[in-house]
């Protein structure tokens, strides 16, 4: 056994921790991707283009944060695309009925509606103790069915929506799009919550070992329920934002989005097996995926290759993740405990 070195080098330790972290490698990948794209086409770094990137990724970032919390508890939420679609459509319908509703009120309604849908997932999973993948696959169909039944092919146009609501989708504050600021606020709030509050750490405990969490007295059911409610609420927020951003709405908004959201979290280092990962990572993963979609056409990659490239990138990122984990494991082995 190697001798023990418990003393750390405080001065540079944080740097080592940072560069070793999963978030850092995603960030690095993002930087490299942008650098390569800019080298090929400098306009990729123009003010307009940066604004576009921020706007494009904001919805996925918000959803990925919710998904990260759910995945950390060793569950998964496949219904987010349908929740987003249903709230987006509801937003349009509500504005048609109440054209004078303040934008803030609409955001609150959207979040509440999403939270309610998420709570349905959460209740089924926590109370009936059934696997999340199955339940949310079921509600993916159900929520979308409700959306379809409600819409009956109806289309909502920008002219149906108040101008100040549409401004939320396109407007900026000090040069930053509102949507990006909302997304940033969501990421920071949940990032701090998960890292620094007891109640936030419990999500990790559950994902790491449910049985142990029960023995520690953590109310697992309630906690899992709240993870799904959060994910639903954020998808609801995403739905309202979607309505503001695109203006044209039908019942198909967000169809198939769930795989992107899960992919964003996974690329960002949130382990499917639970207990590992941060919302920062998930958010970076979302930005990376969106940037790839934006960068590939700019780089002149044939449209037919784009999807394949995204697949390759997802695979590359999880392989990298595995490599980093193995390295850590090896480090732990060299660094053992008992000096008995």
């Amino acid at each position: 056994m190697t001798t023990l070195t418990l003393q750390r080098q405080p001065s540079t330790a944080w740097l080592g921790t940072l560069t070793r972290s999963r978030e850092f490698s995603v960030f690095l990948a993002l930087v490299i991707l942008i650098a390569v794209t800019v080298a090929a086409n400098p306009r990729f770094l123009s003010a307009q283009s940066i604004k576009d990137l921020l706007l494009n990724s904001s919805i996925l970032v918000i959803l990925a944060v919710g998904q990260a919390i759910v995945i950390v508890t060793k569950n998964v939420d496949l219904s987010v695309g349908s929740v987003l679609g249903l709230t987006a459509f509801a937003t349009g319908k509500i504005f048609i009925a109440l054209p004078d509703l303040p934008v803030i009120a609409m955001l609150v309604i959207g979040i509440a509606l999403g939270a309610m849908l998420g709570a349905i997932n959460g209740a089924l999973i926590a109370v009936a103790k059934v696997p999340a993948l199955v339940v949310t696959l079921g509600t993916l169909y159900i929520f979308r069915g409700v959306d379809f039944a409600w819409a009956q092919g109806q289309q909502i146009s920008p002219s149906d929506l108040p101008a100040d609501f549409l401004a939320l989708g396109a407007g900026t504050l000090l040069g930053f799009p509102y949507l990006a600021l909302i997304a940033l606020a969501v990421v920071m709030a949940f990032g701090l919550y998960l890292k620094n509050l007891r109640s936030g750490r419990e999500f990790y405990a559950i994902g790491s070992d449910v049985q142990a969490a029960r023995l520690y007295g953590i109310r697992v059911g309630r906690k899992v329920f709240s993870a799904f409610a959060i994910s639903g609420a954020l998808a609801g927020l995403g739905g309202v934002i979607y309505a503001a951003k695109y203006g044209n709405l039908d019942a198909t908004a967000g169809q198939g989005l769930e795989l992107n959201v899960v992919a964003a979290a996974v690329v960002g280092g949130v382990a499917i097996a639970g207990g590992v990962g941060t919302v920062y990572g998930a958010a970076l993963g979302a930005v990376l995926l969106t940037t790839i979609t934006s960068a590939l056409p700019v780089l002149g990659v044939s449209p037919f290759w784009q999807r394949a490239m995204i697949g390759v990138l997802i695979l590359a990122s999880i392989v990298l993740d595995r490599y980093l984990a193995l390295r850590t494991e090896r480090r732990l082995r060299g660094h053992d405990s008992h000096a008995g």
Partner: protein, 333 residues
Amino acid sequence: GTTNTSSTAGGGAASSSAAADPNAPIKEGLKVAFLPKQLNNSYFTVTDRGGKAAVDEYKGVFSEVGPSEASASSQVSYINTLTQQGSNVIATSANDPKAICSALDEARSAGAKVVTFDSDTDPSCRDLYINQATAEGIASTQIKLISDAIGPDGGDIAILSATANATNQNAWIELMKKELEKPEYAKLKLVATAYGDDNAQKSQQEVQALLQAHPTLKGIISPTTVGIAAAAQYLSGSEYKGKVQLTGLGFPSQLKEYLKNGTMKSFALWDVEKLGYLAAYAGAALASGQITGAEGQTFKAGTLGEFKVGPNSTVLLGEPTVFTAANVDQYNF
């Protein structure tokens, strides 16, 4: 083989080989089913609305069925169901020209008349195709609109299409390329074709990429309603508004904002509701024995008046309408 035997057994139903009786009355109680590419697609919601209006006029039984995602295989299962239910008329827009053929054959052998609209199948597996506008007309209109919007100096243009597999999109793109070879469009240069998959976000990202990859881009043609709406929405909020021209095929209701705020000058579309209306009447005419689908036959389509079957068993609705800020408020679809 089976076609002949079963159609004689079917009694009154006429087949292509039987003689047409232009004066036969439209039968009452015809079961007319509309099977669009996809339900909940605003385009088909409007066509089917037109179809229902027509079916109600001639006292038929209207139904609308279809998959929630555009795929040929699920259309097949719906065609099978309709066959089994004994539908008299199936009006469909094909997700794949070939894939639904054998199912349609089976439906026809069971006595149904098949009318395609918007997207045709192989001509051998339907009775009639209602063409919304000639593909040449659609292509030349869009090229003309973009050329007019950009102005005499011309420049680079790009196309934002739907999915890479969309049959009619691809046909129009080919014809647009041909159109661009004409001398009057010598200054227009098609530099790229992108696919937005009829998804708002993807379409916007493709537009952004087109603009970055081709800084000299002057215009974008998007011959798909989802793509053009997403592109207009993006351009209207970006620095390119008014500098990069946009045209294509879109709904007046979705795009009137952008005509008025100067994002775009014009776009085109046929009267979508009438397309469904005509398809429903054509189906009734077939099922009632007024026509068999042979070239030169005529039938009356309610308030739209008389139509004549053209070559290849095709009926033409008309030419696309061009919408501008001046006329857009007159349309409600």
